[in-house]
């Protein structure tokens, strides 16, 4: 599998196991309810990944299985020297970093807004989470047509007083278009987690800050932000892992184009596997993606858990 995260024995589990050693029979009994789920997860996620490792050492055209043969690591060599692969990696980084930064920014701003009291707050909250619930494939189609179309799109109509003219967003600014749609889609995710963080602040502390004569701005910077940081980071870590895997919007809006302008890793691998039928190279690219994700997740999770350790308790 992918990310093996090893947890040290916890200092203070909520329901502390009985101090005495469990007998072998008790251990077996306790394990029994866990096993079906564990086996299921291993069979459907770990074994396929092992198979992906195996396929990455094969030359394997999906349409001609009989010509399959072992080629060692040459698929990796080919992938690494492939300009299209390097382009896909670059696009993935560009896309993910931009979207995550924008989402963290808007998500924090909206969370702060929603933490205030105003008329119809729960309705506004419902409106704001809607983009996240809408099927990404459907949303992408609506954006591509009704919103971003050069002649009849709403975006150009709204921007026409500013001289937007008939900008063809998805072909002239394909990456910007994808970033726009993804930011729209993922901001609610960030907002919800950060809002939960804001609302978990203890009112006593805020009250104490006020009593000590702190202004609203000071309280926000010195009290709220340090508390909020871990929630922003949690949202960022989870958001990054999901946004790295973006596929729907690219498939629906640009098909990775024009040319290869918006091809990210998932779309590149999809093309290698199901358009070029090149299973070997697709598998190698898949393995590289997983390794990159492991590296990122390992560092990121350590960062987040570190914050949980120092600041939550």
């Amino acid at each position: 599998m992918a990310i093996q995260v090893e947890a040290p024995p916890a200092a203070e589990p909520r329901r502390r196991p009985e101090p005495r050693q469990l007998t072998r029979r008790e251990r077996r009994q306790r394990r029994r309810p866990l096993l079906p789920a564990l086996v299921f997860a291993i069979v459907l996620t770990q074994l396929p990944f092992v198979a992906t490792l195996y396929y990455s050492t094969q030359r394997y055209n999906l349409l001609r299985p009989e010509t399959r043969k072992f080629v060692g690591l040459s698929n990796y060599g080919r992938v690494f020297t492939d300009d299209l692969f390097r382009n896909a990696v670059l696009n993935t980084v560009k896309l993910t970093v931009t979207v995550v930064l924008l989402c963290a920014l808007f998500g924090t701003a909206l969370a702060v807004l929603l933490d205030k009291k105003f008329l119809g707050r729960s309705i506004v909250r419902t409106l704001l989470i809607t983009p996240f619930l809408v099927m990404p494939a459907a949303a992408a189609l609506v954006w591509k047509t009704s919103m971003l179309n050069p002649v009849f799109g709403i975006v150009n109509w709204v921007l026409s007083p500013f001289g937007a003219g008939q900008t063809d967003w998805t072909s002239r600014y394909p990456m910007t278009s994808i970033i726009l749609v993804l930011t729209w889609q993922w901001t609610p995710f960030f907002m919800l987690i950060i809002l939960a963080g804001l609302q978990s602040q203890s009112p006593e502390v805020l009250e104490a800050a006020k009593t000590d004569g702190a202004t609203g701005g000071q309280t926000f910077r010195r009290v709220t932000m340090p508390h909020l940081r871990q929630f922003i980071e949690l949202a960022t870590v989870l958001g990054t892992i999901f946004i790295l895997q973006t596929f729907d919007a690219i498939f629906m809006i640009t098909q990775g184009g024009p040319g290869q302008a918006t091809t990210n890793l998932p779309y590149f691998i999809y093309q290698q596997a199901f358009r070029a039928f090149n299973a070997g190279e697709a598998a190698a690219a898949g393995v590289i993606t997983v390794v990159a994700t492991i590296v990122f997740a390992t560092f990121a999770l350590r960062l987040v858990s570190g914050l949980f350790t120092t600041e939550v308790l």
Partner: protein
């Protein structure tokens, strides 16, 4: 390998119920905040609203410059969509989602129990193993799953898709249900233990009734992800088992011609999850953060 201190991570779950801010007298800034918030909310909601409206237009009103705002609504597009084999796709989506949710709850509830109430040895490892499977990119498993499905003759099979969705939602469900189990009063569980209830009896009589709302919330969250899933659906299905998002692929090339029909189809596609999501709003954040944040 990352060393993650499970206990600290999960400790957010155990914090006492969320504090409500005390009611303050209305301040002059409140109105300004409200206006800004409503404006931003409407901007974010607008594409969905526009999609909904366009679905009730004639094609000639769907692509105009300037956009048509006032029109006589028509059900023509919905009639056309429903007459054009939309229902089998809808049925497939429903089967794949519901079947996977049933399987997820059956697998995740006992697992969550074994990771919280009476934990197995080294339960943290198992917990993070589940988390890690959720983080694995789908592209890492798609090829073998495709090849296995092809060789076992289950390509384009809705049950196979449901199994994949089960694996996809299992970590979320385990973490979420576990967070609900941790909230149960300890005394009740201990009483059941003293009574010498066997696990199935304890489950049925004591635990399930108490976490039923939590299970419903978990099911709704899993429904959102299963219903909206596109990558596996488009890679592993073609005609017989194709789900709603795959139906929408047919509209990619027809841009500019059938916007109203596209909007009607998109509205039907998103409606079930909108209803589920709006209903489960309260638990959304717990599901999205895998139980770490309430």
């Amino acid at each position: 390998m990352a060393a993650v201190d499970t206990d600290r991570l999960t400790s957010t779950v155990e914090r006492p119920a969320r504090h409500r801010r005390r009611r303050r007298p209305p301040r002059p800034g409140t109105i300004a905040v409200g206006v800004v918030a409503w404006a931003v909310g409407l901007v974010f909601f607008f594409p969905v609203l526009w999609m909904f409206l366009t679905g009730f237009k004639q094609e000639s009103q769907a692509s105009t410059d300037p956009p048509t705002i006032f029109f006589t609504p028509t059900l023509d597009q919905y009639r056309a969509i429903l007459g054009r084999d939309f229902l089998p796709y809808f049925g497939n989506s429903l089967i794949a989602s519901v079947l996977s949710i049933v399987l997820v709850l059956l697998l995740a509830t006992p697992a969550a129990y074994a990771l919280s109430v009476r934990p197995v040895v080294r339960w943290q490892d198992s917990l993070f193993f589940f988390l890690s499977t959720r983080m694995m990119p789908a592209v890492a498993t798609i090829l073998p799953l495709y090849i296995i499905a092809r060789d076992l003759n289950v390509l384009d099979n809705v049950t196979f898709l449901a199994l994949i969705y089960t694996a996809m939602n299992l970590p979320i469900a385990v973490w979420m249900i576990r967070s609900f189990l941790l909230e149960l009063p300890k005394e009740v569980l201990e009483a059941a233990r003293v009574d010498g209830a066997s696990l199935p009896v304890e489950m049925r009589r004591v635990i399930l009734p108490m976490i039923a709302p939590g299970l419903a919330a978990t099911a709704l969250i899993c429904f959102i992800f299963a219903w909206n899933e596109f990558f596996f659906a488009v890679s592993l299905t073609a005609f017989r088992a194709a789900t709603v998002p795959v139906f929408l692929v047919g509209f990619i090339t027809q841009e500019g011609l059938f916007w109203a029909r596209l909007s009607a189809a998109a509205t039907l596609a998103v409606l079930p999850v909108l209803i589920a999501g709006w209903t489960a709003q309260k638990w959304l954040v717990r599901g999205l953060s895998l139980g770490a944040v309430k």
